[in-house]
């Protein structure tokens, strides 16, 4: 099998790689690029642990071929904090203890960020349905939902204040 040459942008940086036709973007991120923040929980799109954005749209990287990323822009958990400054969601997740084991956390943060970008002031129900594609087995989701709602509130307040 001959490799496919792909040029893409990940978290704003141009990245080139060669992958096989049947490799998923998740495989590429984890095994070729060392970006192991996206986790493989199921490889069938049911758990959301591998969530990334592809051209701004939330998706499971296990449901994308590595070859498809050519010319695209990808966002992963590794690009969420800006230098030393955590994204407000990352900060709030820590404050609310919205993680126990933490395996689902990267996927949930990526999904929550996408959610707030589309809907900056979601209701609890909207948060719950917005995150329905991300399984968490430790927390019962309570503190996750609170952390997302609190982040929205804070971002809203600081946007108004600014």
């Amino acid at each position: 099998m001959s490799g496919i040459h792909v040029t893409t942008k990940i978290n704003g940086d141009v990245v080139e790689y060669v992958c096989d036709a049947d490799e998923t973007l998740l495989d590429v991120l984890r095994n070729r690029l060392g970006l192991t923040g996206a986790k493989e929980g199921c490889s069938t799109g049911d758990c959301g642990a591998c969530s990334v954005t592809l051209d701004g749209r939330l998706t499971c990287s296990c449901l994308v071929l590595g070859a498809e990323a050519d010319g695209a822009e990808i966002g992963t958990i590794e690009g969420m904090a800006k230098g030393e400054e955590l994204h407000p969601l990352q900060r709030k997740f820590l404050q609310h203890a919205a993680l126990q084991c933490g395996i689902c956390t990267p996927g949930i943060l990526v999904a929550a960020k996408a959610l707030l970008e589309h809907n900056p002031k979601p209701t609890e129900t909207e948060v719950r349905f917005g995150l329905a594609g991300n399984l968490c087995r430790c927390t019962g989701y309570d503190k996750i939902v609170r952390a997302v709602l609190d982040t929205a509130e804070e971002m809203h307040r600081s946007a108004r204040g600014a």
Partner: protein, 286 residues
Amino acid sequence: MRYERPSTMKQASALLAKEKGKAFVLAGGTDLLVRLRTGFIEPDLIVDIKRIVATREIQSTAAGFRIGAAVTGAELGEHAKLQKAWPGVVEAANLIGSKQVQGRCTMTGNLCNASPAADSVPALVAAGAKAVIVGPKAKRTIPVEQVPVAPGRTSLRKGEIVESILLPKRPARSGDAYLRFIPRTEMDIAVVGVAVSVTLDAKGVCTDARVSLGAVAPTVLLVPEAAKALIGTKMDKAALDGLAKACSAACQPIDDKRGTREFRIKVAGVLARRAAQIARRRAGGK
């Protein structure tokens, strides 16, 4: 396995037509990649159609809407005009999978997987949608219900690809709705799905109706008897009872890990009644 990304429909069709091994079309990939990963399929060729401009567009035409084969669920949901004309179709497409899946999945893929439980297909069937199929030699347009012929099997011939789905123009006072039953609130495959599309006259009498059922037979069903129960009525309780009865009667379900036969038969009627009421309300019925 080879991966090809043609830029025209003609090229795509030619690639599929000349492939000697197993070839698959990749649009959203939300089903294809799962089957690939789990070893269910072992393709020799995958043809990614997302670079073909026509597959990415929603066109509003004099005849209605033309929805490209690679338009995602999320894009459907963001198209205000489509949403207004065919809320049931859009809600059905938006029920497929999670937000993550919505960013990739397509109605055409949902149709071509030929799963009896596909969420968007009953809504498309009720809407009277047609599939535009491009082949190596000719283009043809068929009603969507003629695409799947059995679980996992379609009527597409070698080299043929569904290029787009056509939704007709909506008469005044029309509405559609899709409801499905799942054990959780999200992330499940439909145990039963019901789509109802109706048109009312100025007095609120139903003049036209189409009713379609999912997950209760080997393919999605169009149920003319159910439509008959509504046409000519004000969709009152008696009409809805008739509708529910006709829907339950049309079911030929199986017992499986997702539900029992009895459950599907009963719930098909329950959901039909509820979906019809939503469709009627959307059509402006009081």
